[in-house]
């Protein structure tokens, strides 16, 4: 490792206050975007499931009869 | 003596790949007044637009036996004229769009025929609905085309203008022209030229 301590890595000789926020914001954006895409996918799946479900119920009632 | 102008084979309009109505067949011949009937939203307007190539959402085969852009004239439910310009200017421009240069004499003749000559200089937007409809007929006449394609020509017309319009249409087919029009009203006097085609939901 180039830095001798975590403290130093955080400070980066005064440049840490530019480097770390930039990385944090950047990674934050990417994480939030991942989360948004996944939750939208989940919603779409749930909606599809609701479309499929009625026929599902018909099947179970058939087997019950 | 009738000449085939258009052959339509198993045509239906599509919305997202589902046909709107049961596929239709017909041959349009000169001297025919073809009335496209059917419930609201069945696709009469869409069919008309498909026939003249304004829309490509259809299945089946459409074959024009005459050059489409030189033998037909189309008036949709949109006016096709600018409300701020006078009848004269609009007529001149409309004919120019379709490649015909109208002389002053031509314009006077046509506007007199549809009884609009006295309003020739007024902005079209100031005329009444019936007068605007008469101007549409002037647009059709100005082109001297064989086939008229008309979308709902009878809407918002009073009795007299309706009869006058029917008269104009009949004259056109008697002179060897052909008309395809959509309307959910019945045509008052069905004669030998008249044919009706009803679209049925698919």
């Amino acid at each position: 490792m180039y830095f001798s301590s975590w403290q130093q890595a955080l400070q980066m000789q005064g440049h840490g206050m530019y480097v770390w926020p930039a990385y944090l914001i950047g990674i934050g954006i990417l994480v939030v975007f991942t989360w948004v895409l996944r939750s939208r996918t989940r919603d779409a799946l749930r909606k599809l499931q609701r479309q499929v479900e009625p026929s599902d119920q018909v099947e179970t009632s058939d087997s019950g009869a | 003596m009738s000449i085939p102008l258009l052959t339509v084979n198993q045509v239906s309009c599509l919305i997202e790949e589902t046909p709107l109505f049961k596929p239709i067949d017909f041959v349009l011949q000169s001297g025919v007044l073809l009335h496209l009937q059917g419930a609201n939203g069945i696709g009469k307007t869409s069919l008309l637009r498909v026939l003249i190539g304004l829309s490509s959402h259809y299945q089946g085969a459409i074959k024009w036996h005459t050059p489409l852009y030189l033998s037909t004239v189309y008036l949709g439910h949109l006016a096709g004229f600018h409300a701020l310009l006078s009848a004269q200017e609009n007529l001149r421009y409309f004919a120019a769009i379709h490649g015909r240069a109208l002389t002053v004499g031509d314009i006077e003749h046509i506007l007199r025929h549809v009884q609009l000559w006295q309003y020739a200089e007024d902005p079209l937007g100031q005329l009444s609905a019936g007068q605007k409809q008469r101007f549409k007929i002037a647009q059709l006449l100005s082109m001297q085309r064989t086939v008229w394609m008309m979308d709902e020509p009878f809407t918002s017309l009073d009795q007299t203008t309706c009869l006058w319009l029917e008269q104009q249409m009949k004259e056109h087919v008697q002179q060897g022209g052909a008309i395809v029009f959509t309307s959910h009203q019945a045509f008052a006097e069905a004669d030998t030229h008249y044919q009706a085609l009803t679209l049925v939901a698919a």
């Binding site: - | 304004l54 852009y69 949109l78 096709g80 409300a83 120019a96 769009i97 379709h98 490649g99």
Partner: protein
């Protein structure tokens, strides 16, 4: 059978129609020019009435104001013809749709481009632009407004069916107009410092040719999409 009109005859006829329309709605049509003049009055008030300061920013300010004024009415560029079904008739005409688009844009350019160019000396006077720079300002405005007309028309065509078109037009057209502003201002600045203005003017002319040749096709395609899709 039917003999089609010659393109030249057609062109003059269509041009005449656009001109008549401008006369008919003259109060509306004059708004961009009025807007332009009003903006000019704001700069000395906001920045400084000092002639020296004004002279350095004058050309840029005029150019920006011309751009902004061009957006004013541009979301309505095709709207009336669209709503009245005239564009539908263009599509149904024996001439290609791109040709009608071209005529409409050229007509617009001849009316607005020329009037803005003619207004330039007056605007220059208000902002104390040195007289030696006025001819080159007029030249860049004339060519530039031609290019602007094409990109604005594309934005107008693409937003015909959009819900809130006004800002969208700006968002679409502005990036396309960045090169125009750069080359126009470069020509003015280079001339002021006594250098050769050949390069920026050549780029500007090239850009105009490029737009005039290709954009009507893209605009026609956009209109077609709006009509059929």
């Amino acid at each position: 059978m039917t003999i089609l009109m010659t393109l030249r005859h057609l062109f003059w006829l269509a041009l005449r129609r656009e001109g008549l329309l401008v006369v008919q709605k003259s109060s509306q049509a004059l708004q961009p020019l009025l807007f332009l003049t009003l903006i000019m009055a704001l700069f000395p008030l906001a920045i400084s009435p000092d002639q020296k300061i004004l002279a350095t920013i004058a050309a840029g300010v005029i150019w920006i104001a011309v751009l902004l004024a061009s957006y004013l009415a541009s979301d309505a560029f095709f709207a009336e013809d669209w709503q009245s079904g005239v564009i539908e008739q263009w599509r149904y005409s024996p001439y290609p749709l791109a040709w009608w688009v071209q005529i409409k844009i050229v007509a617009h350019w001849m009316l607005y481009g020329v009037s803005i160019t003619l207004m330039a000396p007056l605007l220059a006077l208000l902002l104390a632009l040195p007289w030696s720079q006025v001819p080159i300002l007029m030249l860049t405005l004339f060519i530039g407004s031609g290019i602007i007309a094409y990109s604005n028309a594309l934005a107008a065509a693409l937003t015909l069916r959009a819900r809130s078109a006004a800002v969208l037009v700006l968002l679409i057209a502005l990036p396309m107009q960045i090169p125009v502003v750069i080359f126009a201002m470069a020509a003015i600045n280079l001339q002021a410092s006594g250098e050769s203005i050949l390069a920026p003017l050549a780029f500007l002319g090239g850009l105009w040719l490029f737009s005039a040749a290709l954009l009507p096709l893209a605009i026609a395609m956009a209109l077609q999409i709006m009509m059929t899709a």
